[in-house]
């Protein structure tokens, strides 16, 4: 890391530090009416420590994380697989596109009532919600990515003796990666937002459920802890996919 980058990074931290200091001062001086609703930053950190120590945060976090990972992984995998088939094969695209274009506009949380009736309150419910939330954007980004590959590359590969499967593996998929990653990156953050909403409404465990319990107990410090965890997870997932995209496509783009 060169000197300039170091200095830039330091300057980026400064506004956050000022914000936290202001938060602490304003809360400590009771500048906001109702101290219960606006705990100082140090109290939030202290509560964060308690929640980790007694396992409440870890248990709820792991519940949410596992749901997000399973739902996001299966949804993305299905989206990429079907997206490749629909992008590559016009007949499949014509057959499935009308159905998916009807289903895509429905918000993931809109499925919640019907899924509750079908699956009941259980692990399958949030996982299915996350699956739906991840599936459609990844599907459409993959279709776009596959279709955006210039025909000249496919022709070149054909003339160089590649079979259809080789063209798919060595030309189409690698060149569609930037689009696929756009879908993954957007949905990685969205999956966390949706799981919290689903847990707040219908599931008794997870960060969302903890948020609701904290609200009923008027524990703003716990609510803020949950929001910080949510923020960090959304950011981490998005950064992970940015990192992976750069690693896989950065050399040639």
């Amino acid at each position: 890391m060169n000197q300039l980058t170091k200095i830039t990074r330091q300057w980026e931290i400064l506004p956050v530090a000022i914000f936290l200091a202001l938060w602490e001062v304003v809360a400590r001086l009771n500048l906001v009416p109702g101290q219960f609703f606006f705990p100082p930053f140090s109290v939030v950190i202290e509560e964060f420590g308690h929640l980790i120590a007694n396992g409440v945060l870890v248990d709820n976090f792991l519940s949410s994380l596992i749901r997000v990972l399973i739902g996001f992984f299966t949804g993305s995998l299905a989206g990429v697989t079907l997206g490749v088939v629909m992008g590559w094969n016009e007949t499949t695209n014509k057959a499935l596109h009308p159905i998916f274009s009807l289903l895509y506009p429905i918000p993931a949380l809109g499925w919640l009532p019907i899924l509750m009736l079908w699956f009941g309150i259980g692990e399958l419910l949030p996982i299915t919600i996350i699956f739906i939330c991840s599936f459609f954007p990844v599907l459409y980004n993959t279709i776009t990515g596959i279709r955006a590959v210039p025909k000249g590359f496919i022709r070149a590969a054909e003339i160089l003796g590649a079979s259809r499967m080789e063209i798919l593996k060595t030309v189409l998929l690698p060149l569609a990666l930037p689009n696929i990653f756009t879908g993954l990156r957007l949905e990685a953050g969205m999956a966390w937002r949706v799981i919290i909403a689903a847990e707040m409404v219908a599931i008794p465990t997870g960060i969302g459920a903890l948020l609701m319990r904290a609200e009923s107990l008027i524990r703003v410090d716990i609510i803020i802890v949950c929001l910080i965890v949510l923020s960090v997870m959304c950011l981490s997932f998005e950064k992970f996919f940015i990192f992976m995209e750069r690693r896989l496509t950065g050399k040639w783009r």
Partner: protein
């Protein structure tokens, strides 16, 4: 390398095209944009549907799949895979054909030596210059040892200097490998420099197949002549050798000094855009300098075509609009014109 025969090839663009390209010949397919040049290449390699028959060494290839026709194709936009480095681009066609690792390495070395690209192997296409990209794309086309090479205006996007260098390189390599080659271009100068024979295509029809000289001096019909820019052709009746490869020819009232080191000079030609026109008498010796009167001017975008009437022949010249205006030229004005020595072609 095979002889290629196209027999009555027709499709949505091409119309009844028949031509035979000899073993090891470099045929240039010459024509304006939209004439059907690329479509004909696509037909030959099996990328476009067609009626008629294509034979390689007398064997019909019409039902052979693209991947087994053993054709090297250099696309106009090169189509280098952006996600593969130069090395993996070149060996792509070898991997798909399941060559062994040692064979692949040996062939890669050969290509690197032939095209002088060994230092580029680790780079990605985005990091290559225009000329380097052309050489890498050619290496990729040649690596699987094709029987036929198709080059679709591969030098279009390059500057004049690199184009000239690369077309000489391309010709050297193709001749060294003895490949039967079809090179597509819309530039006659490029075509005559590189081709053994030229095939002029216009509106999907082959208008003329002949040597560059035959086409230039005896264009088959107005379409070919028009495409070539309607060159001024002087019929010569005798000439005197001046030495140093120069001759002084008597061409119907014009005494023209030209470069000619062969026997029997019968014609001299020059393209209209190669003629210098000025209102005042140009300085220097009165060699290849003549006088006439502008009798017609036709404006076309930034170029004006003028007809200069002389005692014995009407001369066509093309000049830039800004030069036309700067020289204050107009119909009825007497002008001087020069036939530059290096732009004269003899036959």
């Amino acid at each position: 390398m095979p002889t290629i025969e196209l027999k009555n090839i027709s499709n949505f663009v091409c119309r009844d095209i028949s031509v035979t390209i000899s073993n090891g010949e470099l045929l240039v397919l010459l024509g304006p944009t939209g004439a059907g040049k690329t479509t004909l290449l696509n037909i030959i390699c099996g990328l476009a549907p067609y009626e008629g028959s294509i034979l390689f060494d007398g064997e019909p290839t019409d039902t052979i799949p693209i991947s087994r026709r053993k054709i090297g194709y250099l696309f106009q936009d090169l189509a280098l895979f952006p996600h593969l480095d130069v090395r993996r681009n070149i060996i792509y066609g070898l991997s798909t054909k399941k060559w062994g690792r040692n064979q692949i390495e040996a062939r890669l070395d050969e290509m690197c030596t032939l095209l002088n690209i060994g230092h580029l192997l680790g780079r990605y296409p985005k990091d290559l210059s225009g000329g380097e990209r052309q050489r890498v794309a050619l290496a990729r086309s040649l690596a699987p040892a094709p029987r036929v090479l198709l080059l679709d205006e591969p030098l279009n996007s390059l500057d004049i200097k690199t184009r000239k260098y690369l077309r000489i390189e391309f010709k050297r390599i193709v001749k060294e490998l003895g490949l039967t080659t079809i090179f597509v271009t819309h530039d006659f100068k490029e075509a005559e420099e590189i081709g053994d024979r030229l095939a002029v295509i216009e509106s999907g029809r082959l208008e003329q197949v002949a040597t560059p000289q035959e086409i230039f001096f005896s264009p088959n019909g107005y379409k070919v002549a028009d495409f070539l820019g309607s060159p001024n052709i002087f019929d010569c009746r005798g000439y005197e050798v001046l030495g140093n490869g120069l001759v002084k020819a008597n061409c119907g009232g014009f005494t023209i000094v030209a470069v000619w080191d062969k026997e029997n000079l019968s014609k001299i030609a020059i393209s209209p855009e190669d003629i210098y026109v000025s209102r005042d008498e140009p300085p220097g010796p009165r060699i290849n300098r003549f006088r006439g009167t502008i009798v017609e001017e036709i404006s076309h975008n930034s170029v004006i075509t003028i007809t200069i009437k002389t005692k014995t022949k009407d001369i066509l010249a093309k000049i830039r609009k800004e030069d036309f205006l700067a020289e204050n030229l107009s119909v009825g004005r007497d002008v001087f014109f020069i036939l530059p020595l290096r732009n004269l072609k003899g036959a």
